[in-house]
């Protein structure tokens, strides 16, 4: 659902002290995590060390983020929730956890001991440790969720810029295609696309792009229409710059602020979508731990009060991550409105 209260203009994020350092840190955290999750066994022995530099990068990013967001308590709470899971994702291999895929003893309730192992959150119906499955489970949701949102943004922003800046036939065609895609209810579109392509992480990226890019395109188009009459755009046109240059260099940086708020919200939606699709059997596939899979497997076996922890643990985990994204978006919007 699109945010209606978005306006072009500077955002709170623009007051960040060292944007380049932030981007570098972000990449230092993100690239290892992405290659760790997407690379799988192709990484070989490097897999043991690749996430080590990401841990300090994550912590440092968190500190910088809290400093930038200190005006808004809501945003700091959201940031904390999100970074808790990010840290869990990058640190999972180095934490003293049991193997998330190894069956030990089935149906052990939380906070009890069995076979000389203490289980904080119990074990599932196959006897796998819930705590380690919960922590490992956030890796795939975060990596695929962020990648899917990123690709959707690249596609949506590109078409939005073209549609808003070039107008005319380009605009007509792009807007019509967006209207057609938007007329599919989101989950129906997901099901049709994944039914056609088959369930996998990469196909989720494709499906999310088809579902989200039209909405992003509309937002970017609106913002572009608003700022394309500004003087600096005329100046660039008079200099004889190529339209592509104007779109990327002059327009794109100036629609950045409002887009970031929307991106936080959309990260939340994408996380919901991935978890839901995995629960429905159309998303990520077993055996690696994932919150949606944990719900899917337990919904068949754990419909008893005594075993309800098997459903509650992944449900609360995914809710806290999404709440984090939404609170961040709320805080950011509040801060940008105050300026």
């Amino acid at each position: 659902m699109a945010v209606t209260e978005i306006e072009a203009g500077p955002s709170a994020l623009e007051r960040l002290s060292h944007p380049r350092a932030l981007i570098a840190l972000g990449l230092l955290m993100w690239l290892p995590l992405m290659s760790y999750v997407m690379g799988g066994t192709a990484l070989g022995p490097a897999a043991d060390y690749i996430l080590l530099p990401a841990i300090p990068a994550t912590l440092l990013l968190y500190v910088l983020g809290v400093r930038a967001f200190r005006e808004s308590r809501v945003a700091v709470i959201g940031l904390t929730l999100v970074f808790f899971w990010l840290l869990a994702a990058v640190a999972a291999p180095y934490l003293p956890l049991l193997d998330p895929n190894k069956p030990i003893a089935p149906f052990v309730t939380p906070l009890s001991e069995k076979r000389d192992v203490f289980f904080w959150l119990g074990t599932d119906f196959k006897g796998r440790d819930m705590l380690s499955r919960m922590i490992w489970g956030c890796q795939r949701v975060i990596v695929w969720g962020v990648s899917a949102t990123f690709v959707a943004y690249v596609v949506g922003a590109l078409f939005g810029l073209i549609s808003g800046y070039l107008s005319g036939w380009w605009d007509e065609i792009i807007s019509f295609v967006a209207n057609v895609l938007l007329s599919f209810p989101v989950m129906v579109l997901f099901i049709v696309i994944l039914n056609y392509l088959g369930p996998s992480g990469f196909n989720i990226v494709v499906a999310v792009t088809f579902a989200s890019a039209p909405a992003i395109m509309r937002i970017v188009r609106g913002l572009t229409l608003d700022i394309k009459t500004r003087d600096y755009v005329f100046a660039a046109q008079t200099r004889g710059e190529h339209p592509l240059y104007i779109m990327i260099v002059e327009l794109l940086p100036n629609v950045r602020g409002p887009i970031i708020v929307d991106a936080c919200l959309r990260l939340g939606y994408t996380t919901v979508a991935i978890t839901t699709l995995t629960f429905l059997g159309l998303g990520l596939q077993p055996p690696d731990p994932d919150w949606g899979l944990m719900i899917r497997e337990s919904a068949k076996t754990a419909m008893l009060w005594k075993f309800s922890y098997m459903l509650l643990v992944p449900a609360l985990a995914v809710s806290s991550l999404i709440l984090g994204f939404n609170l961040m978006a709320d805080g950011l919007r509040e801060m940008s409105l105050r300026d």
């Binding site: 007329s183 209810p185 839901t276 009060w305 459903l311």
Partner: protein
């Protein structure tokens, strides 16, 4: 007004045509045809078929004619009410889909009956005094409930109300006929997830109206506050939420999938998912077309309703 309606209807037809073309094209690959053959003749029979007899089968099913002819035949069949055959359920798709849509309709009716008053009242209470404790409490509550995905809400409600307290049945399969108690958990799940969004938009609309000149005039004239809100503010503040509520119908069609699957309620969403996993191509196509039609129609109703309710646009 009439011109607007006609233009929107034309747009809807165009969108439906393109959507149906897309839908037909992606399920028109040789692979899906082969699957259809397997479903109709059985896997063993198909593997024993020669090239020639497979082609004969294609010809008999009318699958060997050019793409556009097949598409037109397909659309013609659907317009005549023949939506194909479900191999999984062993029934024609038309009646099957109607059954399930009726079930989802019952669900949707109760969701709207609960969600609309709840979200409007909360949104108005919050928007009446922007920034007050009342406003912040309601706003936080609505962000919070909207942040919990339906699947998590469904789990929390099931664990507490059904597994823990034993008040309600955990599944809504309706094996012994319709039962309102079984319907309650899915309805609650959908309401809890959705009311926050509508409440927030109502709040924004209400807050905007409350800061306008004519409300200030009314208050300064000494009219009772209650009357200012009820007679002056609400009229304007409720236009935006109206369009939004109609659009929730579109949202509901994606929201029901996970809820119906989780609670095993035999509705539209469960049918679509089962068909997609089986795969029952004709059911998937029919369900998707219906969903798109409902979505586009609700969009038109909301647009026309907005124009009709808002005199500033109506007479512009």
């Amino acid at each position: 007004m009439l011109k607007l309606i006609l233009r929107r209807l034309l747009q809807m037809l165009l969108i439906m045509a393109v959507a149906s073309l897309l839908l037909f094209a992606i399920f028109d690959t040789p692979e899906f045809k082969k699957r259809l053959a397997v479903q109709e003749l059985g896997g063993f029979a198909v593997s024993a078929l020669t090239e020639e007899s497979y082609n004969a089968w294609l010809a008999e099913k009318g699958l060997d004619v050019p793409f556009h002819t097949r598409y037109l035949n397909w659309v013609g069949d659907i317009l005549q009410g023949d939506m194909g055959f479900s191999y999984e359920k062993n029934r024609p798709v038309g009646p099957l889909l109607l059954d399930r849509l009726a079930n989802t309709g019952i669900l949707a009716f109760f969701v709207f009956a609960l969600m609309i008053p709840l979200s409007l009242v909360l949104g108005i209470l919050a928007g009446m005094k922007e920034g007050s404790a009342q406003d912040r409490t309601i706003s936080f509550l609505s962000v919070f409930t909207t942040s919990i995905p339906e699947i998590a809400t469904a789990i929390l409600l099931t664990v507490v109300l059904s597994l823990g307290l034993g008040w309600l049945p955990a599944k809504s399969a309706m094996i012994n006929g319709f039962s309102f108690r079984e319907l309650l958990l899915p309805v609650l799940t959908l309401v809890i997830y959705d009311f926050g969004y509508v409440a927030r938009m109502t709040r924004a609309s209400m807050a905007e109206v409350m800061t306008s000149q004519y409300i200030r005039t009314a208050v300064l004239k000494g009219l009772p506050y209650r009357r200012v809100v009820m007679k002056h503010a609400l009229r304007n503040a409720l236009i935006a939420p109206f369009t939004l509520i109609v659009l929730q119908l579109n949202w509901l069609l994606s929201g029901v999938v996970v809820v119906e699957v989780f609670f095993e309620y035999d509705g539209f969403g469960k049918l679509l998912l089962e068909a997609a996993l089986f795969p029952d191509v004709e059911v998937v196509q029919a369900c998707t077309l219906v969903a798109v039609a409902v979505a586009v129609l609700s969009q038109i109703i909301s647009d026309i309703g907005y124009t009709f309710l808002n005199p500033r646009i109506r007479f512009a």
